[in-house]
């Protein structure tokens, strides 16, 4: 069975500084990994996904994540935070079979301070 742990429930950064949202996963098989973002009162949107191709994945809005099998991690980063990045971020895992639905982490709330 797979699981995902988001190590921080809340991260606060200043505008223009780097963002790091941490995620560790557990999976019996080679996983697919995703990051979704949920802005206040809006639906969830896919930021990026890893499906066993390149380990460094680039997503929308300048975000990227690196799959590190040895560390079972899939941390989300962005070089420079923008006020519009303030939202809830979810790390998500799916196993190799693709037949079991996604397992979501509990989310990390990102605050960006002007």
């Amino acid at each position: 069975a797979q699981s995902v742990t988001q190590l921080d429930s809340h991260v606060s950064v200043s505008e223009g500084t780097p963002v790091l949202l941490r995620c560790n996963y557990s999976s019996s098989y080679s996983p697919s990994l995703f990051w979704y973002v949920q802005h206040p009162n809006k639906g969830l949107q896919l930021l990026l996904k890893y499906t066993s191709a390149a380990t460094l994945v680039k997503g929308i809005n300048g975000f990227e994540a690196e799959f590190k099998k040895s560390e079972t991690s899939f941390h989300l980063t962005k070089p420079s935070a923008h006020m519009s990045d303030a939202a809830e971020y979810f790390c998500v895992v799916s196993d190799q079979t693709g037949n079991t639905p996604l397992v979501f982490g509990k989310g990390t709330r990102l605050s960006v301070i002007a």
Partner: protein, 115 residues
């Protein structure tokens, strides 16, 4: 194009009543998912429909919960004899295929409050 739509957007019901939540997926998407999001929690998987296959109901928390997908399109999630712990936002998502490779597109959710 039209995204995933859900209705109603808000539902307040009394404990013990039955409720039905509706999801209209994106046209052409074969997969449909229901999730529940409680305050301070991540998304909890409820049920997954893929094409004509039997649905994966492994996430339904009790037999008070059921879902149907008619004609491979619209889906209804039914909660019978609602309890206060059922209060949450219920999210529907759809995708072109299975969850490993295909992006899930989420609807805005139905906020259910059981009083």
């Amino acid at each position: 194009g039209a995204g995933v739509s859900q209705s109603p957007s808000n539902k307040v019901t009394e404990k013990g009543k039955d409720v039905e939540l509706r999801c209209d997926p994106i046209s052409g998407h074969t997969a449909l998912y229901w999730y529940r999001q409680s305050l301070g929690q991540g998304l909890e998987f409820l049920i997954y429909f893929q094409g004509n296959s039997a649905p994966d109901k492994s996430g339904l928390p009790s037999d008070r919960f059921s879902a149907e997908r008619t004609g491979g399109s619209v889906s209804t999630l039914t909660i019978q004899r609602t309890q206060q712990e059922d209060s949450a936002v219920y999210l529907c998502a759809s995708s072109f295929g299975g969850p490993r490779f295909y992006e899930q597109y989420f609807g805005p959710g139905t906020r259910l409050t059981v009083t």
